[in-house]
């Protein structure tokens, strides 16, 4: 399995954990972030059969996502972040996933 696909599995698994933890949380008003993550989880599943995930270019994009999801889950596990700090970490995840989804479309790809 390519490194991109290995990372993709880690991202999806991490997002699921994040979603579960967010659902358990009370207060903080993170419902919007939760909805975004749930939508993205579906989109990430859709990447599994894309050629991009076999490419070398998928590695840094997926690695960034793995790192950002891990930071959120560590914060949730430690329950140390205030809502604003947690919100920022969640935004970093969604930003990273957006970049991955965009790159995976391989717009303008030249193969020579």
């Amino acid at each position: 399995m390519s490194k991109g696909l290995v990372n993709l599995d880690l991202i999806i698994e991490g997002c699921r954990r994040t979603i579960e933890e967010l659902k358990k949380m009370e207060g903080g008003d993170l419902s919007e972030e939760l909805q975004t993550l749930e939508r993205m989880e579906g989109e990430l599943e859709g990447l599994k059969d894309k050629f991009f995930m076999k490419t070398v270019a998928a590695v840094p994009a997926t690695k960034t996502c793995v790192d950002e999801v891990e930071k959120v889950n560590q914060a949730l596990a430690g329950n140390k972040d205030n809502p604003a700090a947690l919100k920022q970490k969640l935004n970093n995840v969604t930003d990273a996933v957006e970049v991955l989804l965009s790159k995976a479309q391989m717009r303008g790809t030249t193969l020579t």
């Binding site: 894309k50 991009f52 076999k54 070398v56 790809t109 030249t110 020579t112």
Partner: protein, 446 residues
């Protein structure tokens, strides 16, 4: 036996160590000047750069080389070839398009001091057939006629990475770049029953959202010059048996998952590149071909993409040899030895350290491609040697690398002119010329 590769350093600190001077120094050290006899027609084969690519070689290198060749009595021309479609919006498929792109990139006859010639003509079918029984996969090749008919060929290569080829060096400059359009179909294994794109691509029409849902379906309909795609309401049809492997469709169909490229056509391409380079050398004559690799702006992707990323490594230097295998091997080794550029794709892929293989980890399209497959094939078929002796060329202490139109010192050149019209206004402010403060406080601006 080890081949000789001459090498000039990667730092410039004087006119004699400019990359232009380095190129001339290695050109002479490798005795490429001795290949050229008076009245020889000399092809300078380079990559003129794709539309909006910015890492391709500046025209000054080709201009300088052309001037040098003229000083040796040769008749130089700078040349490149038309391409396959390669992506949905190609910019060098015909001579007409190629000229627009080349001129936009500065490759004009005026800039070069000699003609810029599209070596395979208007359509890319102007070529010479070469039998290649010794080829690893190719048994024939089609060499662009202007290259094949040249008396001498100087291969001026921008050394960099490449998504499909993994490296873009001397082997690829000739193995792809000196092939006519039909030669490129051959090298890309178009129509090959085992390794061609038509035969090997995994096609998933069930993933196509069709006209009903896909906002870019028209691109799939219109990307193929042979019209092999038919987009329906909820799926897509492809006459794959007729695919010639121009690769235009991949830019439209891989992103959504309708197509998936396996490794085999890419690895087959690597072997074919070395074979086609061999055919080019055979066409011109083994003792009539020289190679210069400019290891500058070592971008991860080739000059054939419409952008150029930050270099994987800082400049590695300027190389020359008569052996295309050895010179590419030397450049790959130099890149491996180098530290990666901070913030570059080498860092993204955790291969920025010295000793890490930069190209196959950070430039290759897919995992598992070797950055030495072209080189290994070249060695196997007898095109050259992977063993090399790297010989450092010292900067010249005596040669003049200044302005060549008038080599006298400035005082001697302009004394008469300035006596006719003094550009300094001595008649103003008692000879001081300009209105300025007499003294200022430097402390304030330090």
């Amino acid at each position: 036996m080890a081949s000789k590769v001459w090498y000039a350093g990667n730092r410039s600190y004087s006119p004699a160590t400019s990359y232009v001077a380095d190129m001339l120094e290695v050109f002479e050290a490798a005795e490429l000047d001795k290949l050229i006899k008076p009245n020889d027609v000399v092809a300078i084969k380079l990559h003129c750069g794709e539309w909006n690519n910015t890492a391709y070689l500046r025209p000054v290198y080709a201009r300088t080389l052309a001037d040098k060749i003229k000083s040796l009595g040769g008749r130089p021309f700078v040349t490149d070839t038309t391409t396959l479609n390669y992506n949905p919006y190609p910019a060098r498929v015909t001579e007409l398009d190629m000229r627009f792109t080349a001129e936009r990139n500065g490759y004009t006859s005026e800039a070069l001091g000699c003609p810029f010639i599209v070596a395979d003509g208007w359509m890319g079918t102007d070529d010479v057939h070469i039998d290649l029984p010794e080829g690893y996969i190719l048994k024939e090749a089609f060499i662009a006629k202007a290259v094949a008919h040249a008396d001498v060929l100087i291969t001026l290569t921008h050394f960099k990475g490449h998504p499909m080829g993994v490296i873009g060096g001397a082997l690829k400059n000739l193995g792809i770049g000196a092939q006519s359009k039909r030669g490129k179909y051959n090298v890309h294994l178009g129509g090959h029953p085992a390794y061609g794109m038509g035969a090997t691509t995994e096609f998933h029409p069930e993933r196509c959202k069709g006209k009903n849902e896909c906002p870019t379906w028209k691109l799939c309909r219109d990307c193929c010059p042979y019209g092999l795609f038919n987009v329906k309401d909820d799926t897509i049809e492809w006459k794959r048996e007729k695919c010639v492997g121009c690769l235009a469709h991949l830019g439209a169909t891989v992103g959504c998952g309708v197509m998936d490229i396996p490794r085999e056509p890419l690895e087959g391409l690597h072997a074919a590149i070395a074979d086609a380079c061999m055919a080019t050398v055979k066409a011109v004559g083994k003792d009539k071909v020289g190679f210069i690799n400019m290891g500058i702006d070592v971008s991860p992707y080739c000059d054939c993409v419409m952008y150029a990323d930050m270099p994987l490594v800082p400049h590695i230097g300027i190389f020359a040899s008569k052996d295309p295998v050895a010179i590419d091997m030397a450049c790959v080794d130099k890149v491996t030895e180098s530290e990666g550029t901070p913030g570059s794709a080498a860092e993204d892929h955790d291969v920025a350290g010295s000793g890490a293989k930069k190209f196959e980890n950070a430039a290759a399209l897919i995992h598992g491609l070797s950055e030495q497959a072209q080189i290994n094939t070249g060695a196997i078929i007898g095109l050259g040697s992977k063993e090399y002796e790297l010989i450092k060329v010292k900067p010249s202490a005596t040669k003049y690398y200044g302005f060549t139109e008038d080599t006298r010192p400035g005082g001697a050149r302009f004394k008469k002119l300035f006596s006719k019209e003094d550009p300094f206004p001595r008649d103003r402010f008692n000879g001081q010329g300009f209105k300025r403060e007499e003294k200022i406080d430097f402390e304030k601006i330090r």
